[in-house]
Structures are given as C-alpha cells and as structure tokens.
Symmetry: C2
Subunit: 299 residues, 2 copies
C-alpha cells in the first residue's frame, strides 16, 4: 500500500496560507489536484494554480472523482461545513474515499466528524500540521496523524510530499491530541521568551545577546532562536498569528473541561495573548505570537 | 594578552559538583592549580586531586602566589565569605590578581563584591556558568562574563579550557544579568514541558511521542529533548536541582524588586518548584527541575 500511485486523484479543500502551498507541492510532484477555496481571489489560490492545481468553483466538482480528499481550513465550524454541510464532501465523495483533515480542531471534534464521515462510507484521518507557511512551502511540515494504520500507510506517499516528520499517533483524534500538546509548548515558550527579554531590557542587556548566549545550552528553544531576534527588532509580522494560537488554546481548554487538571501556564499565555489581541483597535491578534511581548510592555 | 601563559598560577576556591571538574580540567591542561574546599571529603575534591590539583587547607595557602583566582560556590553569603571574609581572598591575594567568580549570585551582589575587591587592588570578573555537571566535566560550559575587556581577554585562554560558548556581556554584573535571563528561560520551559506532558497523559498519548514529534519543530526546546524523556520515565535524579533554580529565581525577584516589571511566568514556576520542594519531608528540592511535574500530579 505504501508504493506511490501517481494516478491517484487528489482533492484539496482550502487554499489558505497553508493549504495553497501544500496543494501546490502535490501538483508539482505530478499528482492531479482539483482544489476549491471559499474565497477565490487569495494568494494561496494563485500559488496553487501556478503550480498546476485545477481550481474549481464547488466542492462537488473538486471531490467527485477524487481518491483522496485533503481539507485545510480554520476552525471546527469550517471543517464541519466543508466536510459535512450542504454541498460538502460527504454529499459528493465516492464511497471509500480517504478524507484527510489537516486543520487543528481538537480531538473531540475530529472524532465526531470522523465518525460521521464513516457513516457516509468514507474513511478519515485527522492530520494536523505544524511548521508554518515556510514548512508548507518547503514541504517540511510536521504531520501528526490519528486514525487506522492501513489508512495512514496509504496516505504516507502523499504526506511525505507535504512534510518531513510524519507520525501515526494513535486512533482517530490522536493527531489532534499531539498537536494540542505541541501548541501548549509553543504558547508557554512564548511566555519564557518574553520574560527573559523583559528581564534583559530591565538590566540593560542587548536582547540579541540573550539569543546568542542562551540558545546553545539548556535554555535553548526554537522560540528563542527564531522569535527572539524578532522581539529584539520589534518585528511583529506573523509567522503564526496570535488569533490562531488563541483558537488552539481554546481547544486545549475544551479538551480539559471535563477533567480536574489545571494548566496555569496555558492560562497565563492565554491571558497575555488576549491582552495583545485587544491592541490596535482589536486587530492585535493579526500579529505573530512574538507580539506577546507587548502585553509586558503594555502597548 | 590572549596568548596562553602556562606559567600562570591558578587558585580554585570551591570544589563542588561544578568546581571539582573545572579545577581538574585546568590541571589536566597543564596549569599549576592550588585549590581549597570548605568540606575536604567530597567527590569534587577527589576529582580535582586525581587530575593533579594541589588541595590545600586554607584559602591563604591557595591564593598567596596565584595570578588568577577562581571561585565557584553556592550563594551570595558563601561568595562574600570566601572572597571578602576573614582568612578570605581579599586578605591574602597579591595586588593586581584577577578574581573570577563563577557562582550565580545576581548582578547587584556581583557589583558590590567586585567593587570591594577593587578597593583591595584586585581585579574582578563575574563569570557565571551554565551547562551542568556534564558541561563542567567535558569543558563545554557556557560562560557569561561581566567586567573590563582587558581582564576578559586575559582570562580567555583559561575560560576556553572550561567552556565552549564564552562571551563578554558588558561591565561588571552583566554576566550575572545574562545568567538570570538564562534561568528564567529554563524555569518557564519546565512549565511548558510539564503542561504538555500532563495534557498528553490526559489524552492517553505516550509522553515519549510528544518528545519525538514536537522536538523537531517550532515547539522544540532543550528541556523537551532532555528532560521530557526523564519525565516520561518518572526519573527525577538531578541534573540541575530544584533548590538551585529556586535560589536563582530568588535572585531574579531581588533584581526586579526596585522595578514595576512583573514576570508572572517566573512567579508561576517559582510557586510550582516550591510545591515540589515541600514533598519528601522537605527534601523535594534535591530532585532535578523535571520533578516540577510532581506539582501537577500533586504527589
């Protein structure tokens, strides 16, 4: 099952910042990709079209002859709409088709959606991704997969076009579970970074010196090496937007709702990100996660 | 000034877990090292003696003919005692001798002690270290130096025996300032790691899978890669003890005392480490920082 079948017909639903370059990579690899995006005139749609993706105007058109269907949209309601809604995947896909959702929606929603797709005789993998727009463009994403082993094996040649670290994490929902842990690390690492940077400033130490000296040892992190220089330069352009990490932290909270476990570091990160979201007349959430430093600077 | 002078006489005050192997490395490099430790029968003393360090029974004896004096002890009162106290370095060292303190004591104490040593016609560098007992043994420490550029250049051949990343961070106290930022990162990374591990457990995900999948991407950190597997194995042996990070976080708080800046992530880490310190009839602080997970597990 693991051999590459270049005759596979691929559908790709959602050509955003991530989905656009992912669909493009599949087309460049030689796959026939039909794709749909809710809003036609977007940079991700152009990126995909230029790489040879056929952009169509309905989900039905994209998925009708597909063997594998990818979806890459924003939040739980969007995934439900494109997969289960009127005119969506469940209505139009052929029985037995493999649906791979790469959106981050939490394990509970993934299980619910996957179960409903199975009732339509479709197969489902949750396969949330990490690595940002650069990882999507370069095909170096980390892909965390939940579902049946045989579906995972079938999907592997395709996932290997999109990512570098690809793991089956367990049954349906497990990819989402690992992704939420990943986001917890990222969110609290931002707190660590911002507090070290503020302490440096307080002591008249060049923040770039902290990046240089501390990143080689036991205090090192991706966040320090990659977001530290951006904070030093007050460059708040996204990478990964605050509004998106806030969505993911909401999914973490929802996952914990039924348990007594408290994660005070996550709560702190959530509070700080929300403070920044309020800045710029409510547009602060469009900045990158490194803009958490603005909560400390109170501006 | 940067050429190696193998005729330099070295004194080393404090042969603990860090100081012992550091003094040993200087002796192995060919330097004449006289060393003193408050308690004679300790593993670090043996390590140094076996490498050719001459262990003497008073600070006076160790420093009387020294060109460069290292100190590596625990906390502010210890440094004050060995450098400025009765029978200490300031009483016995020759005028012009370079004193290099590698203890972590915070910028304010470093400046105070350095200024007093200058009044005794001694030169001073604060040079706190990071990298643990393994870094001390292998000569791969990170050394963060504060003081005069010419003293730093003079010390460099010696520091290069002890460490790999060696930086002059600024005037007296700056090495300490950078070290505190380093400790802030380490402490809050522990929070991130523990919360990701707890969320994994909550969702029936193997914690080692989190280490494997998340360490390659934007959620990666030294803590995840190195302390994550220890948490997964409930191995709480130190590396770096909780009681030592608590001392360092106290120094952070003291440094901020005069400012309105709040570091809630540091406060959270401090609270969690203190909870674990209370465990095991008050002996919990002897465990490694990864034992913070016990605060989440409440046992």
């Amino acid at each position: 099952m693991e051999s590459t079948d270049m005759n596979q017909q691929i559908a790709f639903i959602g050509l955003g910042v991530m989905g656009g370059p992912m669909a493009a990579n599949l087309a460049r690899e030689g796959y026939a990709v039909k794709a749909w995006n809710r809003t036609p005139n977007r940079p991700g749609v152009e990126v995909a079209a230029e790489a040879g993706v056929t952009v169509v105007s309905s989900i039905r058109e994209a998925v009708a002859s597909a063997d594998v269907i990818f979806s890459c949209v924003s939040d739980v309601p969007d995934v439900k709409e494109v997969l289960l809604g009127t005119g969506g995947v469940a209505e139009s896909a052929r029985p037995g088709t493999l649906v791979i959702d790469t959106s981050t929606i939490g394990p509970e929603a993934a299980r619910e959606i996957g179960t409903q797709l199975q009732q339509h005789n479709l197969r489902f993998l949750d396969a949330p991704i990490s690595g940002g727009d650069i990882g999507a463009k370069n095909g170096t994403l980390t892909i965390m997969v939940g579902g049946e082993a045989k579906d995972f094996e079938e999907s592997k040649p395709l996932l290997e076009v999109l990512g570098k670290t690809i793991r089956l994490c367990g049954p349906m929902g497990s990819g989402q579970a690992v992704k939420l842990c990943n986001q917890v690390l990222g969110a609290v690492h931002a707190v660590a970074l911002c507090e070290a940077m503020q302490l440096a400033q307080q002591q008249d130490i060049d923040p770039n010196l902290i990046v240089e000296v501390c990143s080689t040892g036991a205090a090192g992190s991706w966040a320090l090496s990659n977001l530290g220089p951006k904070i030093a330069a007050s460059d708040f352009q996204p990478g990964f937007m605050i509004k998106h990490i806030l969505k993911d932290l909401r999914l973490v909270q929802e996952t914990l709702n039924s348990s007594p476990q408290e994660l005070p570091g996550v709560e702190l990160a959530d509070r700080l990100f929300k403070m920044v979201q309020e800045f710029d007349s409510g547009k602060g959430g469009e900045q990158g996660t490194q803009a958490m430093i603005r909560a400390y600077r109170k501006s």
